[in-house]
Symmetry: C2
Subunit: 161 residues, 2 copies
DNA sequence: CCTAACTGTTAGGCTACCTAACTATGAACG
DNA sequence: CGTTCATAGTTAGGTAGCCTAACAGTTAGG
């Protein structure tokens, strides 16, 4: 419509639509998280520990576990919030806190067996619910969604930096 | 891989990926909402009032405003939570509560001029931030995202029912 | 050493949500 | 009509998750 700034106006429109979609998706997330097992925050943390746990990034030695500060950064929260969640997970027997041998200030957090199992169970259940929702879509819709997921992943990755 | 239930396993995989994407997108939403103006919940409510306000659904007469129960349903929260937010908006001068002339039990909520302006401002700002994020994508990525938005909208619509 | 930088915990506070209990109005029916 | 049941919203009390500020212990540098 506007010849002077077509790109910008399209970008803003896309931004608005995407925002709207995410805003509404909060219901969906809320419904998924309402299975009364693990809270969203706790599952996120457990999952992160699982992903990062086995082979921690670029570390030379096999320093098992993730440091509190790193957890906070990964989850996009402040350190005290991470501590709070970690303590809850620890009390629930899902995670363990151990001193870092190479730096006595630091704390290493690892999943327990129970934690690992809890992640698996919770994820399965939520995936099943989500799959139920997606099952009502057409094949084309699912294809479009699948094509967009890497893009959304790229958007999210941008924010980590 | 598995010939017996290829559709189901694909569906579950898609479900998992979509869930993951939404989970990570929470950062993005949080960042957008951290502009220190209106909280996410309040902006959602204001926006809903704006959308529903002018021409309320299938109502015969021009009953202006939205009822508290309807607001709660639209936002996916319980009535007391809606009341709470409405009171905050009212105190901030962004919304008004009036008795429903046709049912003295009911309350009609409408935006004030200030509320309308606040929605506009907050949305503009957040759209700009989001546009900034999206500007780093390739054209193909943006196209894929745009194609998926209606699908996500359809998913969200499913939940309303 | 002694100070400066860093890691994590504690303390206190806020928002947004929930359930349960209450008030007031409307509607149905004998 | 008047009692009874349903509906609309508010109030009260509680929880989860996040934040900032203040604190304690550890490491590293001058």
């Amino acid at each position: 419509m506007n010849a002077s700034e077509p790109a910008d106006s399209g970008l803003l429109a896309l931004a608005q639509d995407f925002r709207e979609a995410l805003r509404h998706s909060i219901y969906l997330v809320r419904r998924l998280d309402a299975d009364g097992e693990l809270s969203a925050a706790q599952l996120s943390m457990l999952k992160m520990l699982m992903d990062a746990g086995p082979a921690a990034g670029g570390g030379a030695s096999s320093a098992s576990g993730v440091r509190v500060g790193e957890i906070a950064r990964n989850l996009g929260v402040k350190v005290p919030s991470a501590t709070e969640q970690i303590i809850k997970l620890e009390r629930a027997g899902l995670a363990r806190r151990e001193p870092d041998p190479s730096d006595s200030r630091a704390v290493r957090v690892t999943l327990t067996e129970a934690g690992l199992a809890a992640v698996a169970t919770a994820n399965e259940r939520r995936n099943a619910v989500m799959a139920g929702v997606l099952s009502s879509l057409s094949d084309d819709d699912r294809a479009a969604l699948a094509a967009a997921l890497p893009v959304i992943g790229r958007i999210n990755a941008t924010l980590q930096a």
